[in-house]
C-alpha cells in the first residue's frame, strides 16, 4: 500500500505520452549572474540533457527582447516546457508565466530556477563552483519541468467592504479614500480616539503648522463620512479566511458608559477624585480615572479607566445624561471584509530601562515626545517649556539625536524623522524664548525631502548650534540639578564640557505591541527591525505576501507624515483593484485526492489548518474543497497511501528534483 508513495504512477495519460520539448533560458542579469556564473557553459551543459530542445543566454531575460526570445523559441521549437534560470521566482515568476501564457502554453509549464540570489550573489569569489552549482540547479529544474502538469488559476469573489486596522493619519487616509470611492469601511482603533501619534504632536515639520489643527478636521471628516464605521477602543482579535473573504472578530473594550448618551461634556472628569499619569501627555501631568482622551477626540466621548476607578460613583451622579454604566461588558462584532489595510503605527524608543544618557536617573532629561507635549498649548504646562526638577524655564537646552537609533546596542536602523523633530523643536523653543542657548548633538543631520534642508538652515539662522558628536558622559550637578555633558566635537577634534538646564533625547521609532499581534493574526512577515515587511521593498511597497492585505504608515518602517499619508492613499488604490473588480485570482496550487487510492483512513482531515478536507461517508473517501484549500501540502505529506497530491508540487516532481541534485550519473559517464 505504502509503495504508492513516491512512485511515478504508470498512468499513460495523454500528457505523459506527449514528447517533452524543453527550452532553457539562462539570464545573465547584466553582470549580476554573468559576472560570476559562466552562463554559456551552463547553457551548453543543459543543452546536452535529454528533452532540452533549445537553450538561450540573454543579457536580461526579463526585458522585452528577452521575453520576445522566449516567445520566438516556443514557436520555432514547438516548446511545451520553459525553464528560466534567472533571479527569484518571488519577484519574476508572474512575468514569465504571463510571457508563456501569451504563446498558448499553460502558465504552470514554467519552471523558474534561481541562479542569482541562490548562486551568483552568494558565491561571488568562487566562480567555477558557482557555475557547477548553477548547472545542478538548472538540471533540477529541467527534470522537474518535464513532469509539470497544466493547472488553472481560479477566481474568488471579493466582498467589497474594507477593514482598516489603526486610525492614525495613514489609516484615516486609507479609510477616507476608500469611502470616497463608495466602499464601506470599518476603521478599528485600539485607543478611545482616532488620530494616532499625530494627534500628540505640537507642530509638524518642516512648515511647523499646528498638528491637531490640520489633523482635527480630517478626524471629523472621517467621523462624518457615511461609508466609514469607526470602531474606537476596539481591537481585532481573530482573522480567518482569505482575499475577498476575511472573517474578522473585533473586540470592543467597555468604556463603562453608553456612547449614545455621552456628550463628551467631561462633567464626570471634573468630579472624579482619582488622578493618574496622563498617557496622552507622555505621562506628564495627570488625568482622571474617567476622562475624555483629549479636547479634539473623535468620537468625543468619555472613557472610564476601570483599573484606576475607586467606585465612588461620583461620575454617575455628575452625568446629566445618565450615560455611566459600571456593569458594561466587553462586546464583540463579527465582520466579513474583502481586504484589510494594516496601519498599526509604532512606539518611540523607551530610554528608561537602559538609562540612555542618564534618562530616568536625572530629573532634567526628557524625551523629544515629552518636550513636544511641553511645547503644546494643550499640554500639561499650557505651552510653557519648563524643566521637571524646579519647573523653571531652561535657558540652556541640549538635544541629543539618534537615541535608540543607529546604535548597535539598541536599534541599528535610522529612524528617519528624529533629525527634523529636533530641528523643529529647537526652532519652536527659539520662537518662544529667543535668548535660549541651544545645542544639537548629532552623528549626521539627515534632511532629504522638500523644505527639510531649508528648515535646517533656518534653525542655524536662528542661532541653534550644531555639534557633531555623541555625548560620552552625562552627569547631574547634585545642587543645581543641571546636566553636565562631556562630548567630543568630532569636527573640531576636541572634547567639550557643556552644561545644560535641560537635555532632550530624540528617541527613535520602535515596533509597538500591536505589530506582533497583527503579524501573527494575519500571518505577515516581520523584518529584522521588528516592523512589518512589504511584499517587495521597491515594487510592492504597500502590498504584503498575503493577498488582500496591505500596509500603510510606520508599521512597515520609519516614515514622516507625508510619506505615511501617501501610503494610506496607495493602499486604498491597491485595494480598489480588488474591491472594484469584485474578484481575485488565486493560485491553482491545491491538494487533490485520487479516489481509487484513498482508503478513507482520515489521517489527512485533522492535518488541514483550513478544514478544507471533507470526508464523504458514502464512498469512504476524503475530498478536498478547492475553495478552502490554500495548497500548503501538509495533508499530502501525511497521507499514508499517496492518494493525496499537491498540484505543482507532486511527489514525482519533487523527487525528480531531489534525484537531480546529485550528479553521480554524469561522473560515471
Amino acid at each position: 500500500m505504502s509503495d504508492n508513495k513516491g512512485v511515478e504512477k504508470p498512468v499513460e495519460s495523454k500528457l505523459d505520452q506527449e514528447e517533452k520539448r524543453v527550452g532553457v533560458f539562462v539570464c545573465e542579469c547584466g553582470v549580476n549572474i554573468g559576472g560570476v556564473v559562466n552562463t554559456r557553459a551552463v547553457a551548453d551543459y543543459i543543452g546536452s540533457l535529454h528533452g532540452v530542445k533549445v537553450t538561450s543566454v540573454n543579457k536580461f531575460t526579463c526585458s522585452d527582447s528577452g521575453q520576445a526570445d522566449i516567445q520566438a523559441k516556443i514557436k520555432e521549437h514547438k516548446l511545451n516546457r520553459v525553464v528560466v534560470a534567472a533571479c527569484s521566482p518571488k519577484t519574476h515568476e508572474p512575468t514569465f508565466r504571463a510571457c508563456i501564457e501569451e504563446m498558448g502554453l499553460n502558465q504552470y509549464f514554467l519552471e523558474f530556477v534561481n541562479i542569482r540570489d541562490h548562486c551568483s550573489w552568494i558565491h561571488m569569489w568562487e566562480k567555477d563552483k558557482a557555475t557547477e552549482k548553477a548547472k545542478d540547479l538548472v538540471r533540477m529544474g529541467v527534470e522537474r519541468s518535464k513532469l509539470l502538469e497544466p493547472l488553472q488559476a481560479s477566481e474568488v469573489p471579493v466582498n467589497d467592504t474594507a477593514l482598516v486596522i489603526g486610525a492614525g493619519v495613514a489609516g484615516m487616509q486609507s479609510a477616507l479614500d476608500l469611502a470616497d470611492m463608495g466602499f464601506q469601511v470599518y476603521l478599528v482603533e485600539k485607543e478611545p480616539s482616532i488620530g494616532g501619534r499625530m494627534a500628540r504632536f505640537d507642530k509638524v515639520f518642516p512648515t511647523n503648522d499646528c498638528s491637531i489643527c490640520i489633523l482635527g478636521p480630517k478626524m471629523v471628516e472621517v467621523a462624518r463620512n457615511k461609508n466609514i464605521k469607526i470602531m474606537s477602543y476596539s481591537e481585532v482579535i481573530a482573522v480567518d479566511g482569505y482575499v475577498g473573504n476575511f472573517n474578522v472578530k473585533v473586540e470592543h473594550k467597555s468604556r463603562y458608559l453608553d456612547v449614545v448618551k455621552c456628550t463628551g461634556c467631561a462633567k464626570c472628569s471634573e468630579v472624579c477624585p482619582v488622578e493618574v499619569p496622563y498617557d496622552f501627555n507622555e505621562g506628564l501631568g495627570t488625568r482622571k480615572a474617567i476622562y475624555v482622551p483629549f479636547p479634539q477626540a473623535v468620537p468625543l466621548r468619555a472613557v472610564l479607566d476601570k483599573d484606576n476607578c475607586i467606585n465612588c460613583k461620583a461620575c454617575a451622579k455628575a452625568c446629566a445624561s445618565g450615560a455611566i454604566n459600571y456593569d458594561m461588558q466587553t462586546s464583540y462584532t463579527d465582520l466579513n471584509v474583502g481586504i484589510i489595510i494594516v496601519s498599526v503605527g509604532f512606539n518611540t524608543y523607551d530610554p528608561e530601562p537602559r538609562h540612555d544618557y542618564g534618562y530616568g536617573l536625572y530629573d532634567n532629561i526628557i524625551t523629544a515626545m515629552e518636550f513636544e507635549r511641553l511645547l503644546n498649548a494643550a499640554g500639561p504646562t499650557g505651552g510653557h517649556v519648563v524643566r521637571p526638577s524646579d519647573c523653571k524655564e531652561p535657558l540652556r537646552v541640549g538635544f541629543v539625536n539618534c537615541v535608540g537609533s543607529r546604535d548597535k546596542n539598541t536599534n541599528i536602523y535610522c529612524s528617519g524623522v528624529c533629525c527634523m523633530v529636533t530641528i523643529k523643536n529647537a526652532q519652536l523653543l527659539k520662537e518662544k524664548r529667543p535668548e535660549t542657548d541651544q545645542t544639537i548633538m548629532y552623528i549626521d543631520i539627515r534632511t532629504p525631502f522638500r523644505a527639510y534642508e531649508e528648515s535646517y538652515n533656518r534653525s542655524r539662522d536662528l542661532g541653534v548650534k550644531f555639534l557633531r558628536g555623541r555625548p560620552v558622559e552625562v552627569k547631574e550637578d547634585p545642587v543645581t540639578k543641571n546636566i553636565k555633558v562631556r562630548v567630543e566635537d568630532t569636527l573640531a577634534g576636541e572634547m567639550r564640557n557643556l552644561e545644560f538646564d535641560l537635555l532632550v533625547l530624540a528617541t527613535g521609532i520602535v515596533p509597538n505591541e500591536g505589530i506582533g499581534k497583527i503579524q501573527q493574526l494575519l500571518k505577515l512577515s516581520k523584518a529584522a527591525d521588528g516592523l512589518l515587511m512589504e511584499a517587495h521593498p521597491k515594487l510592492k511597497p504597500v502590498d504584503t505576501t498575503i493577498d488582500g492585505v496591505f500596509l500603510a504608515g510606520v508599521a512597515s518602517g520609519p516614515k514622516d507624515i507625508p510619506y505615511a499619508v501617501s501610503q494610506g492613499s496607495a493602499c486604498a488604490g491597491r485595494a480598489t483593484i480588488l474591491l472594484k473588480n469584485k474578484k481575485a485570482i488565486t493560485e491553482g496550487i491545491t491538494a487533490v485526492v485520487e479516489p481509487e487510492v484513498c482508503v478513507g483512513c482520515q489521517v489527512c482531515i485533522p492535518m488541514c489548518p483550513f478544514q478544507a478536507i471533507k470526508f464523504d461517508e458514502k464512498v469512504n473517501k476524503a475530498n478536498v474543497v478547492k475553495a478552502l484549500c490554500k495548497g500548503c501540502g501538509t495533508c499530502v505529506a501525511a497521507c499514508p497511501t499517496g492518494a493525496l497530491e499537491q498540484c505543482h508540487f507532486k511527489n514525482n516532481q519533487l523527487l525528480a528534483q531531489i534525484k537531480n541534485v546529485f550528479r553521480f550519473e554524469e561522473v560515471a559517464a
Binding site: 505504502s2 509503495d3 508513495k5 513516491g6 511515478e8 504508470p10 551548453d44 551543459y45 546536452s48 518571488k90 542569482r116 540570489d117 541562490h118 550573489w121 552568494i122 558565491h123 561571488m124 567555477d128 563552483k129 558557482a130 557547477e132 552549482k133 548547472k135 545542478d136 533540477m140 503579524q519 500571518k523 512577515s525 516581520k526 529584522a528 515587511m533 505576501t545 496550487i589 483512513c601 489521517v603 489548518p609 483550513f610 490554500k630 495548497g631 500548503c632 501538509t634 505529506a637 501525511a638 499514508p640 511527489n651 514525482n652 519533487l654 523527487l655 528534483q657 531531489i658 534525484k659 541534485v661 546529485f662 550528479r663 553521480f664 550519473e665 554524469e666 561522473v667 560515471a668 559517464a669
Partner: protein
Amino acid sequence: MSEGQTVASTKEECWVPNILAFACNWCSYAGADLAGVSRLQYPPTVKILRVMCSSRVEPAFILKALKDGADGVLIAGCHIGDCHYIDGNKNAEVRINNTKKALEKLGLDKRLRLEWISASEGLKFSEVIKEFTEEISKLGQNPVKEKIEPQINADERRSSASVNKSAANVQGSEVK
C-alpha cells in the same frame, strides 16, 4: 557528459559536502533570497528546493535524498506562530523529529536539520549553511549514499524512484 565534474567521487580529499535544503516559499526561501540580495557569502554546498510549506516535506524525500547522495538535508520553515498556513510548521516539526529518531538507528540523525528562518533572516540563513556545512564536513561523507551509479535510462530511473521500506515505516509512525 560535461567536464570538470569531480564533486562527489571516491577520493575523500576532494569531497565537499552536498546539502539539500527544502525551503518554504514564504519565509525561508525569501530569507535565502535576502542572503543573496545582501551578498552574504556562504559555501556552495547547498542546493535549495522550494516547497510551499515545510510541512510538505515527507520523510520519504529525506531518505531519498540521503540514499541518492545528500550528505546533509536541511528543512527550513517559518518560525512557530508565523506559518503562512497557520501551523504547518508544527506538523513539520513532528514529522522531522520522527524522521530524526528513525535516522538515529542508522546513525544518520546528525545529517538532518530543521531550522526556522524568516524572510528577514538572510544572515541566519547564511550562518546556518556555514554551520551545517562545517558539521557535515566533520561527519564526513554520508556512508549510506549509493556509490556511483552507471548511467541509467529513463525506465530504470523510474523504478529507482521507488521508496524503500523504512520510508514507509517513518510515514506510518505519524499515524496516531
